[in-house]
């Protein structure tokens, strides 16, 4: 009986120890893969890969989803120049990413966030939290929409890029007008810089940094 009690105690200990690493596991976790390779994605490295190969995230293209012309509802400023007016000029861009899963099992995209810069000025940071599963050995194309607006972009430009604009001797309004009028032909580079968080089969996060420019250089 004493032997039984000791063995039972050991058994509880072993099973508990086996269970502990799973504490943070997602309920959606799939089968465990033993390999723990490190993968390079873009210029960054995938961090802390425990069980799955890091998926590849790449900006495929940017599309204009919805566009209010800069001139619509515009008003003239003191110098007689057309401005977007107090109501602003919304611009909705679709960022289409290819997400490649190199693993033999499905993997979940937990969240994706990226900062968008027009030329060298960061205007917006977009975040997406919807769970998406990428099937094994497939490349999925995912579309993330972001809303930009003349007035909010102007505010962001003035606060974070104000001194740079002064150095470049450019008025924020002139730069915005150039962007809003040139967007249909993508006459200036738009860059994205962000991270995608995947959940591997063992429940651990795989963080994949990515960056991209459109139109491609």
């Amino acid at each position: 009986m004493k032997k039984f009690a000791v063995t039972l105690f050991l058994l509880i200990g072993i099973v508990s120890l086996l269970a502990l690493p799973c504490l943070a596991a997602e309920e959606k976790a799939a089968t465990l893969e033993k390999a723990a390779p490190k993968a390079t994605v873009g210029k960054g490295k995938a961090m802390k890969i425990a069980a799955a190969k890091a998926p590849m995230v790449k900006l495929d293209r940017i599309e204009i989803a919805n566009y209010w012309g800069y001139y619509l509802d515009g008003i003239l400023d003191k110098e007689g120049k057309l401005t977007a007016g107090r109501r602003g000029a919304p611009l909705v861009l679709s960022f289409v990413y290819s997400v490649q899963n190199p693993n033999n099992f499905k993997i979940m995209l937990d969240d994706l966030k990226f900062t968008v810069a027009f030329e060298e000025f960061e205007l917006n940071t977009l975040t997406f939290f919807d769970d998406n599963y990428i099937p094994a050995k497939t490349t999925d194309y995912m579309r993330f929409n972001g809303t930009f607006d003349y007035n909010t972009a102007n505010l962001s430009l003035l606060v974070t890029g104000g001194f740079k604009l002064q150095e470049m001797n450019i008025k924020s309004g002139d730069l915005l007008k150039k962007w809003w009028e040139g967007i249909s032909d993508f006459t200036f580079p738009i860059t994205v810089n962000g991270t995608a968080t995947f959940v591997g089969p063992n429940g651990k996060n795989i963080i994949v940094p990515f960056e991209g420019t459109f139109p491609p250089k």
């Binding site: 508990s16 900062t115 991270t195």
Partner: protein, 418 residues
């Protein structure tokens, strides 16, 4: 033999099911909301803070989450627009079902305060407005560090003691018995910038400082010459800067170029690593109320903070990171430490989390901040602030001011909640 085998099988099943139960219980997800400004009028400081929130949550998850439960963070940019913050809060409450919110600005935090009180939603904000420190009025608001009013009182006290009373340039005026003169530069329409103004004027009166006309400076200002010229007529010895870094740097540059000749003291959100970078020599000697170590500075948690910054946001170089990251960690650690206690007590809800926070006494988060204490009757985390000044582009400690020690009666009876 059969009996013994049955016993073994039962034991195995019990342990297996017990362990499985542990895992299932631990698989629960705890949801937190975070409202941040990454594109609006305070994005010069808000972007870095937002990065810090995500990094601190990743750290908490890596060390076991909330007693084994993973935190799922919902983080949204509201562009410093109060209506959008209110809308986002409703989404957190009604759809995402978060247990607590990490907030941002004073305007939205104060606007949401009655709602979160009614909803019993813990709200740990980056607004350190003293209006949020009286639990009788705002029982579900909290933050981890010195409030704006106490920070301003501390900074003005440090300038008065260390500069006005000691600096040779003021000797002649001191000998004549003249009073020092103060002017405030801030955006009057901004709840953040205007929050400590009443306390500043009260403190100036306490120290015998004359106060000149306020200068209204926008948070997005790139030219403040008219305000500097307006202030110049009053011949101030000291300027209080109540805005965020970009606007403060603009005002300092204009003050420098127009020869205002006054010293500068700055509120916490205007005093960071970018200030000497943007204002250059105009920022030399400026003093500011700080609430924690600067990025890369001395603090027990700094190695982890830097490692998580590199890991979670590798695209942002270390030399562009700010003290805002550490402030974000403060908010996250305050909230998650309380959540762990509440969870252990089986009360992971608004009331349980707030009660847990109110048990913290001299709590050190390892961030180089002053130890924080809270009670059911007083949500002022600290009794003063360390005051730093900029010397050759670096931050140097002037002194840690303890308001409670110096003015115990006023601290206890007069100064809470404004």
């Amino acid at each position: 033999m059969r009996k013994k085998s049955l016993l073994w099988l039962t034991a195995f099943l019990m342990t297996f099911l017990g362990a499985a139960g542990m895992v299932w219980a631990a698989q629960g997800e705890i949801r937190l909301g975070s409202i941040n400004d990454m594109t609006g009028a305070t994005s010069d400081v808000g972007k870095d803070y937002a990065l810090g929130i995500a990094e601190a949550i990743a750290y908490v998850n890596d060390i076991g989450g909330i007693n084994g439960k993973k935190i799922k963070l919902f983080q949204y940019d509201y562009g410093y627009r109060i209506p959008e913050a209110v809308t986002t809060y409703k989404r957190f409450r009604d759809f995402d079902k978060v247990v607590a919110v990490l907030g941002w600005g004073t305007g939205d935090t104060e606007a949401l305060s009655p709602t979160i009180t009614k909803d019993k939603m813990p709200y740990v904000s980056a607004s350190y407005s003293a209006h949020l420190t009286d639990p009788k009025k705002t029982p579900y608001n909290l933050f981890f560090c010195t409030d704006y009013s106490s920070g301003a009182r501390s900074a003005i006290t440090a300038w008065y003691d260390n500069v006005w009373k000691k600096d040779a340039k003021y000797k002649a005026r001191r000998d004549k018995g003249e009073k020092p003169r103060l002017v405030c530069f801030y955006m009057a329409a901004s709840p953040y910038a205007s929050a400590p103004i009443k306390a500043i004027k009260d403190h100036a009166a306490l120290l015998g400082i004359e106060v000149g006309p306020d200068q209204d400076v926008s948070l997005t200002a790139l030219d403040t010459k008219s305000q500097v010229l307006g202030a110049k007529q009053f011949k101030p010895d000291l300027v209080w800067h109540g805005n965020t870094t970009m606007s403060v740097a603009t005002a300092m540059r204009d003050a420098y170029s127009l020869g205002l000749g006054a010293d500068h003291v700055v509120n916490v959100w205007g005093f960071d690593e970018n200030l000497p970078r943007l204002a250059g020599p105009a920022a030399e000697g400026a003093m500011g109320a700080t609430v924690c170590a600067f990025f890369g500075g001395k603090a027990p948690m700094m190695n982890k903070i830097q490692a998580y910054a590199k890991r979670i946001n590798p695209g942002v170089p270390a030399n562009k990171r700010l003290v805002r990251t550490i402030q974000a960690w403060g908010a996250v650690l305050l909230l998650t430490d309380a959540m762990k206690i509440a969870d252990k007590q089986g009360k992971l809800n608004g009331e349980g989390i707030m009660k847990a926070m109110e048990t913290f006494k001299n709590k050190d988060f390892g961030l180089g901040s002053q130890p924080a204490s809270f009670s059911a009757t007083d949500h002022r985390p600290t009794t003063g602030a360390p005051i730093f000044k900029i010397e050759k582009g670096k931050f140097v400690l002037v002194e840690a001011v303890d308001l409670k020690k110096r003015w115990p009666d006023k601290w206890e009876k007069e100064w809470m909640g404004w």
